[in-house]
Symmetry: D2
């Protein structure tokens, strides 16, 4: 994998500007907190947000992006379909994608999954404990048996996703629910990691273990250099075919 | 599963009307041949085609459909997006879907897979041998170690699909290629089976083993009665949450 | 699948005879309670126990067994290796296996899994809620979104098993743990279902939903009739090989 | 992952000493050829063989081994069960294992798989073409769409293994068979990669692409540093349980 994958941290960046409480938790935006955490982990990071031209995801930016992280919540519908399609083709051609929390309902994630990605949810009062169920997976590097978050929004099953290629974390919530919280997928030549925590009203992205998992996810999702260009279409035989009558 | 699942066999039904050679192979249409094979296997079958109103896939028809089979080729783009969405929601809510051959590029299949579903192909001169790699799977009932087709269109890897939940068949072709020919997926409460053979210029759907696999696929994909309605959205806790300060 | 699969319910049958409290919960033995539940579900059932000759698993009994269910706990080591090997070969050749609760440590399960199948556990005071994460799977037929058990022994991750082919249930426990509670595997031509609940000091096997899941598991694991005999070893080519110099 | 994983290349090392033809192809032994290839790829390599004390796999050697590669063929039965168990525990605790060709029948591989690992085979005259079906997987780094081997022993389906967690290569053979040739598994904290080619009478391990795949497999299978120690057994609750009456 690339020695230091180049990460673009994408954020809707509306809650922080419109709600003083959220703005106080994330004064540099959710993207700022995520980017700071990834930089501490040694990754090369830039950010992009919804209200930039082309949502900050120009071809030039994507040319220099190995892995894209995605946080969105209330404005999924405002993401331009053409940009979604652009990102999707990049993923299928090898760019990694790390989808965070409420990004489960983003156009890019639902389009790559083929399902609604719907779930149960509840704000307020739940503790979350994310249990590792795939020990030895690179995304768990440096993480103990579980990560505990004193408060998080609850997401509960049934989570309407395809069965993950690898299930890495399963969450426990105080209120009685469970959730598949860390899910790995291959799509085309690209890799997709969905990671559950990160509600905008809580300081989750300042948590060092959460930052570590996101960094691990970016490293895991980084493209493999020199892997084969995918060839499709009409092809000559590689072995002789019988003569036809 | 339902004692006798009700199958709707969908066909684009253009090649057979426009090309005399193909029409001679499938005088009742490809759908007619598939339907006849399924009826011999004891299934309850109706058909629907592209040029019927709503492509023959009205809500009333889908209300009486446990499993939909899909054959299309050159007119995928003419399938109305609203009908595709209607079918997709049915699948996610439990209706089975069996996608055949060139249906790999249909809107419904690519939408449920989230990838391009592209592949290599070649017409003329290849033998195909479909090897069972999941013995004991219900879709292999009554099938030996492999199915041999004297001539078929070649489809070759890389096949741009998500890794199947279960890989049932792998094909060998004379010209040197292999292909994942029988692929099972769960999507929402529904099940999807992709089965490769069935080029329009060849009598593949008159083959008894191919008919058997399609029938098995329909039985496997049939909805499970009395399974839970999926509930999403904001939920009260099932266990007491701590009082908040 | 067989119209009515023939089930053999195997039980260690020691706790019930040695501990009056347990004997009072299961006066006909744990096997008796499981068998009664399966008969109510319309299955054909016999039982077998550790202290019978050949543990009740003679070749003649296995000849008439489509699916074997397994409950053991404190006497795994007393199960004869030759009988374990006999059962294993049957599974690889198509017999279904449903492994219950503390059967996770049985010789037959660990041998088929290839891992230690170790886990965390705690007796006393936990509620268990088994959430369906694979809606539409035949093992969930007739089951709602979750099954709640007022008290059960806790089993917690990390559960040292291979990733299931299909994960059907995930459990929540009061004390803060989660567990992959319903796990499907294919092994050879056989199918294996591990289902977590069923501690000997609790009336779990009298619960109608638990009985339903075990019955569903037996139907799912039943062998497919007329599926191909597996052929191995030295084989002649199916296509001409080039002449050798 | 470790900057440079330390590899131990294990070989039965009998054919090369007993058969002049084979000895001429592998004058330094099959292990010598594999080790040379891995060193060219920048890995740290030692070797071990069957006839060394403890088969060369002492605790001290395994303490310094991140990944073990395994080639054996006619003397699987001579591998001491205690050494197999020692290696198995190492794998479950994180050591990588790369199993090559006829190693499919080794005690260590069959023990980790839980199946017979039987297959079809034929010597003489087949070309093999290994197609990549998981583009983007780290094991395919630097490999094109397929690897072609002018001659190899044929291995054909049905290959009696659990469905791989990830299927990376599928082979085509001249004589009409296919085979799942590159198979990834997680077992405990360890990773296992089975890679098919490598018959003793052919110079396969001198092939640069084959060497590359084995090196990639070793890097993929290397243990993750600082991952959680697995804890099992009786556990106190992490959350308060209700008082018991």
């Amino acid at each position: 994998m690339a020695a230091s994958p180049r990460i673009t941290v994408w954020n809707e960046y509306r809650h922080e500007l419109q709600d003083a409480h959220i703005g106080a938790i994330y004064p540099e935006g959710i993207h700022g907190a995520i980017a700071a955490g990834l930089r501490e982990q040694g990754l090369t990071v830039r950010t992009a947000t919804l209200d930039e031209p082309e949502h900050g995801l120009t071809e030039a930016v994507l040319d220099e992006t190995d892995v894209l992280t995605w946080w969105g919540h209330k404005s999924h519908a405002e993401v331009d379909d053409a940009i979604v399609e652009r990102v999707k083709q990049r993923v299928l051609n090898g760019m990694g994608l790390v989808v965070l929390h409420s990004g489960h309902f983003s156009k890019i994630f639902t389009s790559l999954m083929g399902t609604t990605c719907n779930l149960k949810w509840r704000e307020g009062g739940d503790k979350e404990r994310l249990w590792v169920v795939a020990p030895g997976h690179p995304i768990t590097e440096g993480i103990g048996e579980y990560i505990e978050l004193a408060e998080e929004e609850m997401y509960g099953e049934q989570f309407d996703i395809p069965a993950p290629d690898t299930l890495v974390f399963v969450s426990w919530f105080t209120g009685g629910e469970v959730f598949r919280s860390g899910c790995c997928y291959a799509r085309g030549q690209g890799k997709v990691f969905y990671f559950r925590p990160g509600h905008e009203t809580l300081p989750t992205y300042h948590n060092k273990e959460i930052q570590r998992v996101i960094a691990n996810g970016c490293r895991w999702a980084a493209p493999i250099p020199n892997s084969a260009t995918r060839n499709f279409g009409n092809r000559k035989p590689l072995e002789p075919l019988p003569a036809r009558g």
